[in-house]
Symmetry: C2
């Protein structure tokens, strides 16, 4: 028969699937001989069985009773004993942490008889009756869905009758009355009396915790966090211990190292004569843990020794919760502790130095996200005033600017501004683009402002509920700010500061830029060491998306070993727009050819610079991609200008010519229009001009003693026949340029059909580069520009996305196309080079995916190159680590 209950003495930390995280760690501590209150864990399997059938699985209750007897023996107390009752806590504990999502019931075992015994035994009647009323309240709400307000009303009435303002001021008699009132509420809502039988309380509580797995908010949370819905939760039943039994008692939390900086030494807080919830509620002031040495030296020594053993066992920073009951230390919880990004790097390196973990493991202890956070500039908080308020940190960064209250003002501003809005909507987009940062009073991480700002990489603090925005003023904490006043917002912490706070550039970035040495600085040394190991391990190369020599040079300093995407259309902007205009308006082949001839030397010069900057490294040049009408003024603008002129009887002149051209070229859906390879096949000479410029630039570099390694990439290919046609033209152009080196020709894989027919395409392409932005747009059928603000927030709320598929690759859909293309492409051409040059190339989770999918390189913006390098190393080392330990 399946076993559903594990005593804490039966499990260990590796049984998280079965016992949940909390249960597994309690078992581990018990196994280590640490002073954990006795208890047992009801397994996730029992939960799943219960949720499937709606009844407790056969044998479960018998098992629970058996384990309860063991507890009683160990504690020398009896559950439900009227004189000195054993009380129990019943806590949920799933495999993955779901903070605040599920239920806890304390003080199980109290009833009309044992409350008296507890009062007597603890010599604290008030404590006993307060515990009892809390049990009825918690139990009523959790087990029988009694509305919380019903209890709250009685509590309010009790305070009012007693003439006090807070609950702690209620005396024993008043609490006894309150217990009476609560029992009436309980009866009214459930049609039965509050159960006096301790076993009934326990069984009902376990079942209620099981059911809480399927509470609506829990389901939603799991959808958002992509936690499987069918895991179920374990239930931990533990003997209650009390830190509020006098000055010899207390409760605390601690970390085995400093979670903020990673420095050595124990950190924590201790609160005398208090229970755990008092610490959390911040009712009284805690003291630094070191003071425990004076208060209770024996417990302090024991605690330090336990913490050392926990670190050894977990080989990582641990955090713990403990209680001292009458001088006796009890460990209530431990787990691998959270830490800041800087601490993560420093601790990982320390643990290697201490011989606790290998470099492989150290690499697994840090993430690209953490490195990314270390690369944002931050406020110099030592010089900052206290924050005005704190909102939801929705998009990281540190931005300073003058307040503006609407989009138009942001667009019109000449100085940096912060756009302050109740909430944003698509009308605010121009203002969001123009502003340094966005601050809203409503909405969370999935609000329009948050989603769009993250997409833009713009600082955003949202849901700052203390802000009162009223026309041209905003009030916060009694202070009123007006348009034009300077504020500073921190998208990493959510802090909002008055005035201009000094921005500190990231030390890590300065290190990558070569401006700071790592030696002597614990963080930079740790980064240096882990990056070196990552580079050594990585199987993925990291290239950069760079269109200019300046960008390429920076990327090289950041460790890029090639340019994976040079967008040639960026070479058509600025002054050169008028040349493109000539190309578009060309009425015959001669005019078109002349326009192309004028562009040729300009492109050639751009390429020469770029090849020089990346001398010796591959540079993948993408032929022009966007629709040509993007180089003309927008249709709406021209329409209004011409209509205005005509209404006034003025000749619109060149505007009319342009309007005609723009109308002719207008597309309902430019994203799905005449662009990419289609342009090259429809506009004679366009691709040939670009290929010639690349070949001539390479020839010139070789003549100058350089080592250019250009590659030509064709965008938006959907059918092998397109690529065949372009290849034939390109080869004949390349053959005609004296001194040009051999140049590889490949294609973007950014149209689903290209991925599906990758076998055919690989017959003609020497390399693939996934354009995951377009691939995402087409696989999902939405364009980033159009929908990010329109419904992504709603989708994140509904759990349809856990993260925007433009931020992190959608493994099931887009990922399936990537895997298919890799498999089919390599089947035909085993030495096919495969990379990715979409924005996902710099996203940590996506880099891992690309490693797993077998790509050769990722290419990302220069700034994200170190992040990709770290993740590439982590991905490779995740496998290697298990071999080499």
């Amino acid at each position: 028969m399946t076993r559903y209950v594990y005593d804490f003495t039966d499990g260990n930390k590796d049984l998280k699937d079965l016992l949940g995280g909390k249960g597994a760690n309690l078992a581990e501590m018990t196994l280590m001989g640490l002073p954990v209150p006795p208890g047992f864990t009801v397994t996730t399997e029992a939960c799943r069985a219960y949720l499937r059938t709606g009844t407790m699985p056969a044998g479960l209750l018998t098992e629970v009773q058996h384990h309860l007897r063991l507890m009683q023996n160990r504690m020398g107390k009896t559950f439900g004993d009227a004189a000195d009752p054993l009380l129990l806590s019943v806590r949920s504990g799933a495999k993955f942490s779901m903070p605040g999502m599920m239920e806890t019931i304390l003080d199980i075992g109290l009833n009309d008889a044992s409350v008296v015994g507890l009062g007597r035994q603890s010599a604290d009647q008030r404590f006993a009756w307060d515990s009892y009323r809390r049990l009825i309240q918690m139990f009523g709400k959790t087990v029988f869905d009694v509305p919380g307000e019903a209890f709250e009303e009685e509590l309010t009435a009790a305070r009012s009758i007693a003439g006090v303002a807070t609950d702690p001021e209620l005396g024993t008699t008043q609490l006894q009355d309150l217990v009476h009132a609560y029992k009436k509420v309980f009866h009214q809502h459930t049609g039965r009396d509050f159960p006096q039988a301790p076993h009934e309380q326990l069984f009902l509580a376990i079942a209620a915790v099981f059911r809480s797995w399927n509470a609506e908010r829990a389901i939603l949370y799991r959808r958002q966090e992509r936690i499987p819905q069918d895991l179920g939760t374990a239930v931990n039943v533990m003997a209650m211990v009390f830190g509020n039994r006098g000055e010899n008692s207390g409760t605390g939390v601690a970390f085995t190292r400093d979670p903020a900086t990673g420095r050595h030494g124990v950190y924590g807080d201790y609160l005398r004569n208090a229970q755990g919830e008092d610490v959390v509620a911040g009712i009284r002031n805690a003291v630094p843990l070191a003071q425990l040495a004076a208060i209770d030296p024996a417990s302090h020594r024991q605690l330090l020794s336990i913490m050392q053993r926990l670190e050894q066992r977990y080989r990582d920073l641990c955090d713990i919760e403990f209680t001292i009951e009458n001088g006796r230390l009890w460990m209530l919880q431990t787990r691998v502790g959270k830490r800041t990004p800087a601490a993560a790097f420093v601790i990982a390196a320390q643990l290697v130095d201490e011989g606790r973990i290998t470099l492989h493991e150290a690499l697994q202890r840090v993430t690209g996200e953490q490195l990314a956070q270390l690369m944002f500039p931050s406020f110099d908080t030592t010089a900052a005033p206290p924050p005005l308020t704190t909102g939801v940190p929705a998009s990281p960064g540190a931005s300073v600017g003058a307040i503006v209250f609407d989009s138009a003002a942001a667009v019109a501003a000449t100085e940096p501004v912060i756009l302050v809005r109740r909430e944003t909507n698509p009308d605010d987009l121009p203002g969001m683009i123009a502003a340094q940062g966005i601050l809203t009073s409503r909405g969370g991480k999935t609000s329009h402002a948050a989603v769009v700002a993250r997409g833009m990489g713009k600082t955003c603090v949202c849901g700052t509920e203390e802000l009162r925005i009223d026309g041209d003023a905003v009030t916060v904490a009694g202070r009123t700010l007006h348009a034009g006043d300077i504020i500073s917002i921190d998208g990493t912490t959510g802090n909002v500061y008055p005035g201009s706070v000094a921005v500190r550039p990231s030390a890590v970035v300065r290190y990558f830029e070569g401006e700071l040495a790592a030696h002597g600085d614990p963080l930079l040394s740790a980064v240096e060491r882990l990056m070196a190991h990552a580079d050594h391990q990585a199987r993925l190369d990291v290239h950069a998306n760079a269109d200019t020599a300046v960008d390429a040079t920076r990327a090289r300093r950041f460790g890029a070993t090639g340019v994976g995407l040079c967008r040639t259309e960026h070479m058509f902007l600025g002054d050169r727009r008028r040349l493109v205009e000539r190309l578009i308006l060309a009425e015959d082949a001669t005019a078109r050819s002349e326009a192309l001839q004028t562009l040729l030397p300009l492109q050639r010069a751009d390429f020469e610079e770029l090849f020089a900057a990346m001398d010796g490294l591959p540079v993948t040049v993408r032929l022009i991609d966007p629709p040509l009408h993007e180089f003309l003024p927008p249709l709406e603008e021209l329409t209004a200008r011409v209509a205005h002129a005509e209404a006034l009887g003025v000749d619109p002149g060149h505007d009319r010519t342009l309007l005609t051209a723009v109308r002719r070229m207008h597309e309902q859906n430019p994203m799905l229009g005449l662009r990419g390879v289609r342009l090259g096949l429809v506009i004679p000479g366009l691709f040939a001009m670009q290929v010639r410029a690349i070949a001539q630039a390479a020839a010139a570099r070789i003549a100058a003693g350089g080592d250019p390694q250009p590659e030509i990439m064709v965008p938006l290919v959907g059918a092998v026949q397109e690529l065949e046609t372009v290849r034939a033209e390109a080869e004949s152009v390349l053959a005609s340029v004296p001194g040009a080196p051999p140049i590889r020709l490949g294609t973007m894989i950014e149209v689903p059909r290209a991925a599906l027919t990758a076998g055919q395409i690989a017959g003609v392409a020497e390399f693939f580069s996934f354009g995951t932005n377009d691939l995402t747009q087409m696989a999902w059928g939405f364009s980033r520009d159009d929908v990010e603000g329109a419904f992504f927030g709603r989708y994140l709320e509904l759990g349809i996305f856990s993260v925007s598929p433009f931020e992190s690759i959608d493994r099931d859909g887009v990922g399936e196309l990537v895997r298919t293309a890799v498999r089919r492409g390599r089947a035909i051409r085993p030495d096919l080079t495969i990379g990715v040059c979409g924005e996902h190339g710099g996203d940590p989770a996506s880099v891992r995916f690309f490693h797993d999918a077998g790509l050769d390189y990722v290419s990302c913006s220069p700034f994200r190159v170190p992040i990709a390098r770290l993740e590439a190393g982590r991905a490779a080392s995740a496998a290697a680590g298990s071999d080499s330990r």
Copy 2:
């Protein structure tokens, strides 16, 4: 060793892969003992070997010489004999017919000596010398790439010296001079003399035919026709026979039944004292074949008997080419003959009656395309004047209208018009939409006009080169027509008629409509019989796309067994637009809810009518799909209106409100924007209102004794979570409507991601319906509206498409998504119903694909229901046929 040469006595009609179509049929006739001139076929395998290596495969020439000796024995003549030479024709013959694409060389074996012998032997010196000069010309061009103009110049000079206008007027001496001149041309361009050795001529000719497989035009043709490039061609070497040896000789072509109507009896033409090319060139008038009975009764009898045997052997209409040389009949070619659509049906039914073929086979002899052609209206040609001219039949149909010369005039016209243009471009789209038909003077089947017209299902004749369009007049055949003059154009034949020609509705359509009985009419009886068998065989059901009761009723008459797609947005047009406007402009939940409440009864009434029309059959209702701003005036129009008003200082009033709304909702790429299921998730109550209307309508029908079978279909789902959310809402609405029947809920599969994650989606969907239009748009990354005119013509020319992927499903790309979705969906839910409701559902080739992919039904426009039924039957019977014969 591989055998490369097959004597005509060695092969048979089933060896087309190896011997090509022509060679296999010649072998079959030889096998039947018919009088085929002796000869042999060099295999496609030899061609492939030659093209791979550039040299003749080992042993080939020895084999050829061996077979040549056999021929000489049979003919009693010797190749290269100076007195009575055996002459040879060398013709290409691939597996698939490639008319005009590849090479033929006649009269191989003539040289300076044998030309004299031939002249003497035939008693026709002129004939001999003319043959010789033709050989040099053909051989020079084909084998040595001598430019054709070089020979043409000499021919022109010869005519000029002789003072004659045409080649036949050149006499023997002049032809002898011409041979001399041709030989000089040959030497100049090749640096060698014209080869006198007959064997050398033969081997070089065979190699040249091999090489012609890879001629540029042949490659392009195969790309366009999707014929594999690696098949190679066979080469047929046959003894020359001559129909121009006097009045006892002649040549002819014949059909074993009337290829126009299918009527019994032999049809053909005979031309005395002529060679085959004379018939083709139409130099002299042929006589009906029946007259051969008087001219040469023996040959006529023999021919009739042969034709009967061929029909028996091929069990189908055959066409033949024959030559009579001095009273001796020679069969030069046969094949299963081409026929009109009407003849195809009639003949197939006849052959069943005659016991020649089974009904299964008969079904394979007709196609949906043919049925489609029979369903177009046509001109009553008995009442029509002679056509003014004939162009390329680019998009079928028969249209009558007044000439207009530009798009604006077409749009402004109140009477039916024909848009007449040199060629069209995207600016002409509004005019093309407004016109009945399009007539152009330039461009072929892949021109802008042709591609767009086919996409619209609009009549189009293009490339009518005799038209001279000049401002407001068009001249043709000496006649000038002006704007406003009526013309009639036939997109099926390419004919252009002056004035209004009576349009005859299709008899087949009238039969389907129940207006004509089949009995007594050979065509309608054949259609009735084959359709009945198709329905009996079909595994695919055929549903119709119908939004109204009128459409649904028609679809039912045409044989639809359900509505596969009811587009609810069509219920929001017309007067109801203002209700949608209210919904869009609603500023709060109350206003929105009121707007929805007003729409509810209107939708309910629509559904009731529809369910009544389809009583007892499934009706799949798609929830609203298009972006809501489609119901507002276009942005450009509003912009101009507001700018105009403002320039004049007038208040634009409501226009400004609308403009603000349209701007807010404006999308760069509406196809990739807020539509489909996204609307339902973002606009509270919208889907619920529609679901309620469906449920209430169904309940009302049941109350009235009806049998409604509605299904609810959610559009544009990309992720299972979207569908889960909609399903939860729909189920709660359905549960709240008293008397509503159980209603199945499923999804469109029209986003690539839905196909890729079909396994997940099938967990929540009871049916799938492929939206292949969107699936095509997203798989290829182009929208039909934007690109069909912009580059499809160019793509068809380049062979990137052989047909627009919007007309016929792209099997490699979109098809792969369909197969994937079917496989993954059924793996999770084996009884998943799967259909298609994109326009491909009515395309014959696509129906076959959907059958093969294992779908349950196709849904198409009512008009195409019979076509889909026929193809569904053919698809099923193709497999069944091979079992049951």
